[in-house]
């Protein structure tokens, strides 16, 4: 694992962006997750071990910076996210592009699905439209930013 300066700069930028800009970019109280985008790149480029350990620590940081309830949930979600995402580490040239990109996109949707299933479980029972709306809107919002980053920094980088 080459934990070079680039990752530290990338990670710090993502965290600072999250702290300073997430509020300004909030739509209907939903914010983009720049840390998730950083973890996406880190896991795909460096593999599970780097992803899980960084994801867990950054998740704890997010939880420490003011969550009222479900303290520890971000650490749990980032851990699961990076573990599943580890499947496509070094697989860019082996998987069909559509499958490859669909996989990480679905991982993001899955993360939000788990998050809302834990925090708003009862919504799924009596108001599934609101539940699925929240899941899809949150994931698409972060996905949109991921795609913007992707235009400048391609995911393709098999070691």
């Amino acid at each position: 694992m080459k934990f070079n300066k680039r990752y530290i700069i990338f990670g710090l930028s993502a965290t600072i962006l999250q702290i300073l800009l997430s509020d300004l970019l909030s739509i209907k109280l939903i914010r983009p997750d720049f840390i998730l985008i950083f973890l996406l790149y880190l896991t795909i480029w460096e593999g599970r071990i780097a992803g899980i350990s960084t994801g867990f620590l950054l998740g704890l940081l997010v939880d420490f910076i003011g969550v009222a309830s479900y303290f520890g949930l971000s650490a749990l979600l980032y851990t699961v996210f990076t573990y599943i995402l580890g499947v496509i580490h070094n697989k860019y040239s082996k998987w069909p592009p559509i499958l490859y990109h669909s996989f990480w996109s679905l991982c993001i949707v899955l993360l939000y699905f788990i998050r809302f299933s834990i925090t708003s479980a009862r919504l799924l029972d009596y108001n599934p439209q609101v539940f699925w709306g929240s899941v899809l809107f949150s994931s698409l919002y972060t996905l949109a930013f991921a795609i913007i980053v992707l235009l400048f920094l391609p995911l393709a980088r098999d070691s």
Binding site: Q18, I19, L20, S22, D23, S26, K28, L29, I30, R31, P32, D33, I35, G47, R48, I49, I52, S53, G55, F56, G59, L60, V62, D63, F64, I65, G66, V67, A68, S69, Y70, F71, G72, L73, S74, A75, L76, T79, V80, Y83, G86, Y112, R115, T119, S120, L123, Y126, N127, V130, G133, S134, S138, T142
Partner: protein, 260 residues
């Protein structure tokens, strides 16, 4: 032993995952632990520095004090106005006068929002007041337009507020003029939902919603929102209401803590 070591090395990503997963679950299920709460309060105090530049730009000290004072008076007047709107007959007038007497004695502490967390959904604020200012756990947090939340963890100089938008937040409310009582929870996009309202209650779109007198935390008659939709659930003895909030919780910069 050697084979176990090599097996560990071969499967180290899975082992690290299980370890991190176990730790996360442990933290998640010990969220009410006082030591963790203490640590979070300390962390939030140190984190507050990230908001210093914006706070410095937006509020100069002298203006801030004057502004807080004016906001305090404005809130008192708005609460009085809301109370007076409830007057329908002599009995109600008398009760509202008592409410007014009580409300005018609310001990309000102005606070600036120093942080809004960085999770993907807004569910908490960090404010710049704490035990040094007389704040305690479960103190109501309001603005002139309604209930914002309650203090959840209180440090010496900062506190974490559980917002009304937190999925775990519940509030006992009264719908005026019918007087029916229900339990309010957040739905999303500035919309709340009230459940457990009796089907016999005569409720119309536009009716106002206030805190009820059944809450141990919130004083009665604080404004909450307005009924925007009514659902009669089939096979149920209860109604479901959608409530539109009077304000946008995402843009708040100042709040008031109601002290005991």
């Amino acid at each position: 032993m050697r084979s176990i070591y090599f097996a560990f090395l071969r499967q180290k990503d899975h082992v690290i995952f299980i370890f991190a997963l176990f730790l996360s679950l442990l933290i998640l299920f010990s969220g009410d632990n006082t030591e963790i709460a203490e640590l979070r309060i300390r962390f939030s105090r140190y984190f507050a520095f990230t908001k210093i530049p914006s706070v410095w730009v937006t509020s100069k000290r002298s203006l801030d004090l004057e502004n807080s004072d004016l906001r305090n008076k404005n809130l008192q007047l708005k609460l009085l106005l809301e109370s007076m709107r409830n007057l329908e007959n002599d009995n109600l007038q008398l009760r509202s006068l008592l409410d007014f007497k009580r409300e005018s004695h609310l001990n309000l502490l102005p606070a600036a929002v120093h942080g809004k967390g960085i999770t993907t959904t807004l569910s908490s604020f960090i404010i710049d007041v704490g035990t040094n200012d007389g704040v305690a756990v479960n103190d109501p947090v309001v603005i002139a337009d309604g209930v914002v939340g309650k203090t959840m963890h209180v440090g010496e100089t900062t506190s974490i507020i559980q917002l009304i938008s937190d999925p775990d937040f519940r509030l006992s409310v009264r719908i005026v003029p019918d007087g029916a009582i229900g339990i309010l929870s957040w739905l999303g996009n500035n919309i709340c939902e009230i459940r457990e309202v009796p089907k016999s209650a005569k409720i119309n779109v536009g009716d106002l919603v206030y805190t009820s007198s059944y809450s141990d935390i919130f004083p009665a008659s604080l404004p909450v929102g307005r009924v925007s939709a009514i659902f009669d659930e089939r096979g149920s003895f209860q109604k479901r209401l959608k409530i539109e909030m009077h304000y946008n919780i995402g843009i708040l910069e100042y709040v008031f803590v109601i002290l005991d």
